[in-house]
């Protein structure tokens, strides 16, 4: 596959190129792919591998001419969750980084729009982390609020 040839590593997975990169290589690689026809940035995903103690960032890129999909994967340490921002390469990366910052707490250096995105007034842990227990949170947060008990004749 072209992307594997270009970057010199990676494997094919279900018809798509899966390329494992280190954090320093990622900017150069995206630039290289972008110059070589991978001009559609599909999305930036984040996977939380709790047991391995790392976050995996997956940059999906698509080449319209070669009809090829490349997934560039980067591991970052779960305890030192800082990553360089790629938002200067594609404008929509900014939004993905905002979301990942909010949902996983990963800080992106160089992205200055890491404002609240989907959540408002969220003082708790980033919710998409595997160690955030949604069910427990629901119980604490929503189920503890009492019903309004009033005269049944009023309302309803």
């Amino acid at each position: 596959m072209k992307s594997i040839e270009l970057l010199g590593k990676g494997e094919e997975m279900h018809g798509r190129a899966y390329i494992k990169l280190s954090a320093d290589e990622i900017e150069e690689s995206i630039k290289k792919l972008k110059e070589n026809g991978f001009n559609h940035f599909v999305m930036l995903s984040c996977v939380d591998w709790l047991d391995k103690g790392k976050f995996e960032l997956v940059y999906h890129m698509w080449n319209y001419e070669e009809k090829e999909h490349a997934m560039l994967s980067v591991d970052i340490d779960r305890n030192n969750d800082v990553m360089k921002s790629m938002s200067h390469l594609f404008p929509q990366i900014e939004t993905y980084e905002r979301e990942i910052h909010e949902m996983y707490g990963i800080k992106f250096e160089g992205n200055n729009r890491l404002t609240p995105f989907l959540l408002e007034n969220w003082p708790h842990d980033p919710p998409m982390r595997k160690d955030f227990d949604s069910k427990k949170f629901v119980k604490q947060m929503y189920e503890s609020i009492p019903f309004i008990e009033g005269d049944e004749n009023e309302g309803i």
């Binding site: 997975m13 599909v42 999305m43 995903s45 984040c46 009809k67």
Partner: protein, 374 residues
């Protein structure tokens, strides 16, 4: 302070659902626009991580409300990739028909709400009513109007009833007739030309870099369509041409990437979808409709990364599914087309737009907030 601030949404007639654009306006020109989403954030991705592979099917369809079937299809395809399944031919054709019907329904809705945004309330009334006949088909096929939960990993939930093709044919003929009326009211209306031509132009050389997909990209002159690029379902066996900018059939081509072209592309793709459905009905083979499933409760999907994409009425819908070989997915990440259209593209298009055009630009981009925030 020169500018005043306007909020388009969440409670506003001119917004495409529950989201908000925060506009800074000088006189009647928007100088800065900021998209504010999250009003519909239900944490689907988190929910899916705590549900079984099969349990996620009812969840995913809630991600894009006007056209839920693409989610089911994309999720199923991603799971099928992981499982290395090849689905039966009949299921492929049924999926094609269902997806195209959903596309027509979504386009009718998009055209109707766009027409509402420029003030012609006759067309939404007609197109929403006509869309209901497609929902009737769905009701007969799947038992539900909106959330069908019909496309499953491995095929479709049950076979198409024998008399349904006749009903589909009848409905398609009806909609074809109605399209002529739509042309009279909107697409050949002089005031529509005045309003839409040259407004909200996506710069064509930037379109791909900005992540524009689907009809919006085709309006910029790039004939890219996932149905052709990565044919799924039965699209590789069906003969159809992609509608893209300069070649707009009976409509005049004006400027690439503006509101007018985007809406005309949508209008033409309804006809295209009708043709596809007719072909699919004709070619549909007889076979099983679904593969044999393992026990859902103990269904483990092999480890790996899979990405499936489908062409929805709004653009490219992608599902990134990661499995560690367990009962539940490790991660399901949804790439909604509105993610780029609604935030980066819309913010850039709205800058410098007239406040009278804000709503029509948003509706012509066909932004659907639930697939931004999930």
């Amino acid at each position: 302070m020169k500018e005043y601030e306007l909020f388009i949404g969440p409670q506003h007639p001119g917004i495409t659902g529950n989201m908000m654009y925060h506009l800074w306006v000088d006189g009647d020109t928007v100088t800065k626009a900021e998209c504010n989403v999250g009003y519909l954030h239900r944490g689907f991705e988190k929910l899916m991580e705590s549900r079984l592979w099969m349990q996620n099917i009812p969840l995913v369809c809630r991600i894009c409300v006007p056209e839920p079937d693409v989610n089911e299809a994309a999720y199923s395809m991603a799971v099928e990739q992981l499982m290395d399944w090849e689905i039966p031919d009949r299921a492929k054709y049924i999926r094609t028909i269902v997806l195209e019907l959903a596309r027509i329904a979504a386009y009718l809705m998009a055209i109707g709400s766009y027409a509402g945004s420029i003030g012609i309330y006759t067309l939404p009334q007609w197109s929403m009513g006509d869309r209901d006949y497609i929902l009737d088909i769905f009701e007969q096929l799947t038992g539900a109007r909106v959330y069908h939960i019909y496309i499953w990993p491995g095929g479709v939930r049950w076979d198409m009833p024998a008399d349904l093709p006749r009903l589909i044919e009848k409905t398609l003929n009806y909609i074809e007739e109605r399209l002529k009326l739509y042309d009279d009211v909107l697409f050949e209306n002089r005031v529509f030309f005045d309003r839409a031509i040259g407004v909200g132009k996506i710069p064509c050389n930037k379109a791909i870099e900005w992540g524009v997909t689907g009809p919006n990209l085709r309006a910029c002159g790039y004939g890219y369509d996932v149905r052709k690029l990565e044919p799924y379902a039965a699209y590789d066996e069906i003969d159809f041409d992609i509608v893209s900018y300069p070649d707009l059939g009976k409509f005049d081509a004006h400027e690439a990437g503006d509101v007018y072209t985007r809406m005309i592309i949508r209008r033409l793709e309804i006809e295209q979808s009708i043709a596809i459905i007719r072909q699919a009905l004709k070619k549909m083979p007889e076979s099983e409709h679904i593969l044999k499933h393992p026990n859902w409760l103990r269904w483990k999907v092999p480890e790996g990364y899979a990405f499936a994409r489908v062409e929805s009425s709004k653009g490219e819908f992608g599902y990134f599914v990661v499995s560690d070989g367990g009962l539940k997915p490790v991660r399901v990440h949804v790439r909604g087309p509105s993610y780029t259209h609604g935030i980066n593209v819309a913010e850039k298009l709205l800058q410098g737009a007239n406040i009278a055009d804000v709503s029509q630009i948003l509706f012509s981009l066909d932004i659907c907030p639930p697939d931004i925030e999930r």
